[in-house]
């Protein structure tokens, strides 16, 4: 059997978990989902709809807030009692974190961000490295394989839903595993369009030339109801805050349109823009990699092109 850790925040499901379940149910073994904390119990039906035949709800009065070591301890107890072939989680901040704690505690190997899994001994996986710009085929030796699934590697597809068998378990958790837990929260600023969720992103690279040079990009983003993004060259120069950086060590965006202005299109930047439905590149250099990666391109100086775009958008919207 396989156990699959469903990621949630105070009962709100992280949708990557559904992709993980979709991949997991195709591996040829019964799939059991794990929900940690009472707040997650209502997610049992979603887990079943995506392939979990059994759902373990882990109940404990101190599990209301996320605590990585405590979550890992719950998984370790399930490994000991159920002896699964593999444990799956999503390759998100929390998924990778909890699984790494499980790995550290059990001294088992862990493969992060898998896109293909062949169970067996050894277990053979294909996983994302370099933020997804390279793949690795790797073999894992161990009694239980600890694997996280790269987000967006598979599409979440429902399976014919059954009503799941629900099993409630109460773990023994000592104080130590609560040393690190969420003790406070700052909610997202209301009204601001977040970069990760914006429908249009206007991104600027070194070609913008200065912090002030971003004014026209801001105007275009505002006209189109979008957000401003940038490259690492720009954050390193201190022109824009890191929160706006698109790429491997920044934010991954998924807009309908990404307008990349004065960005060369380095691999680490493109990785972050891969979720874009369409890319429009504005660059003086027709041979820049961003142009090859784009659907549309304007060859020219962004300082002339963007004001013209703003004027034209205003006309179209009038």
């Amino acid at each position: 059997m396989i156990i699959a850790l469903i990621e949630h925040d105070r009962g709100k499901l992280n949708e990557s978990s559904l992709e993980m379940l979709t991949l997991g149910r195709g591996l040829g073994l019964p799939l059991h989902a794990v929900l940690i904390g009472e707040a997650a119990r209502p997610l049992a039906d979603r887990a079943a709809a995506f392939g979990a035949a059994t759902v373990h709800v882990v109940q404990h009065e101190r599990l209301a807030e996320y605590a990585p070591e405590a979550w890992a301890q719950c998984v370790v107890e399930l490994i000991e009692s159920l002896k699964p072939e593999a444990v799956l989680a999503s390759g998100t901040d929390r998924g990778n974190e909890v699984m790494a704690h499980v790995a550290a505690q059990t001294r088992l190997p862990m493969a992060a961000n898998c896109i293909e899994i062949k169970l067996g001994n050894p277990c053979v996986v294909t996983r994302a490295r370099w933020g997804g710009s390279l793949l690795e085929e790797a073999r894992l030796n161990g009694s239980t394989h600890l694997l996280t699934v790269a987000p967006l590697a598979v599409e979440a597809v429902e399976s014919p839903a059954r009503s799941p068998t629900i099993n409630t378990v109460t773990p023994t958790l000592d104080d130590k595993v609560f040393r690190v837990r969420v003790s406070g929260r700052v909610e997202a600023g209301a009204g601001k369009i977040s970069l990760a969720e914006a429908r249009v992103v206007v991104g600027g690279g070194r070609g913008v030339g200065s912090a002030e040079g971003f004014k026209p990009l801001e105007e275009l983003a505002e006209l189109m109801g979008g957000a401003v993004g940038c490259s690492r060259a720009v954050t390193s120069l201190g022109w824009r805050p890191h929160a706006e950086q698109v790429g491997q060590t920044g934010t991954r965006i998924a807009p309908d349109l990404y307008i990349a202005c004065g960005v060369s299109g380095a691999t680490q930047h493109l990785i972050g823009a891969r979720g874009s439905k369409h890319i429009l590149a504005i660059n003086t250099d027709a041979d820049a990699p961003i142009v090859a990666a784009a659907d549309y391109a304007i060859i020219g100086d962004l300082h002339e092109v963007i004001p013209a775009l703003c004027a034209e958008v205003k006309k179209a919207m009038a």
């Binding site: 996320y66 997804g132 710009s133 085929e137 249009v200």
Partner: protein
């Protein structure tokens, strides 16, 4: 306070990479080397914390002799001393890397209040070396940190969560893995470079006990073939671009 930072030498790729004939490595014949941006920020954070609180900082890497280049870069930014865990250049998996780091921490006479790591290495992206080290040393660990404040005997660490922040209050000593954005790393000064050049690097040769996760080979993912439509040159292309925006339905509410 005493701080250890762990960094890893990686090829500085940007454009398309090619692999060596045996598909084990990136072909680095025409590439320079660097460390992950997360680790560069970890180094900067260590330097700032020591500037503010006093104490001493050390940087450590496990890798081949050539990795001394990255250790010296970190010392040029202001780290006090460096430790090289020298290997023959083969890839150590996360478990064996962590075990070697743990052994080196125990062997080092200094008691570290803080061990800083990158959230993930840029090349392997294993997401686990810091956490494995924390467990072995019995220390608490917070990951993906973009803000760190030392307060009394502990620290307040923040990590981004769905547009907002999760806050963690942790006791010290602790392991903290950081993400780029926690600070803006300084460029090493000329003097810093000179000083770093003269410093000794402590060395140890950890024992190789084999990997639990074996790399069979690397692969370059297939990119989907697609065509780019050039809308025109210069500002004259704007009307055509706006036609495209309309076609994509971007002006509908």
């Amino acid at each position: 306070m005493n701080i250890l930072v762990c960094i890893k030498r990686i090829p500085a790729t940007g454009g398309k990479v090619s692999l060596t004939a045996d598909e084990q490595e990136i072909d680095t014949r025409h590439l320079g080397f660097t460390v992950s941006p997360h680790e560069e920020c970890a180094v900067e954070e260590a330097v700032r914390l020591i500037e503010a609180n006093g104490g001493s900082s050390a940087v450590l890497t496990l890798g081949a002799e050539v990795s001394t280049e990255q250790l010296r870069d970190a010392m040029a930014m202001g780290i006090d001393r460096a430790i090289l865990l020298e290997t023959d250049g083969r890839e150590w998996d996360a478990g064996s890397t962590a075990a070697a780091i743990v052994e080196a921490v125990r062997a080092d006479g200094m008691n570290f209040d803080l061990l800083l790591f990158g959230n993930e290495a840029a090349d392997t992206g294993d997401y686990q070396v810091g956490i494995r080290v924390a467990h072995a040393l019995g220390l608490p660990c917070v990951t993906g940190i973009k803000s760190l404040e030392i307060k009394g005997g502990g620290a307040v660490a923040k990590r981004e969560a769905s547009g907002g922040w999760d806050i963690f209050e942790i006791p010290l000593p602790a392991v903290v893995t950081v993400k780029e954005g926690i600070n803006l790393p300084r460029y090493p000064s000329f003097q810093g470079r000179l000083k770093a050049k003269k410093k000794d690097i402590a060395r140890a040769k950890p024992q190789w006990n084999g990997n639990q996760m074996e790399k069979a080979r690397l692969k370059i993912p297939k990119e989907q073939e697609h065509q780019v439509e050039i809308l025109g040159n210069g500002p004259g292309a704007a009307p055509k671009a706006v036609e495209v925006f309309q076609k994509l339905g971007l002006f509908q509410k």
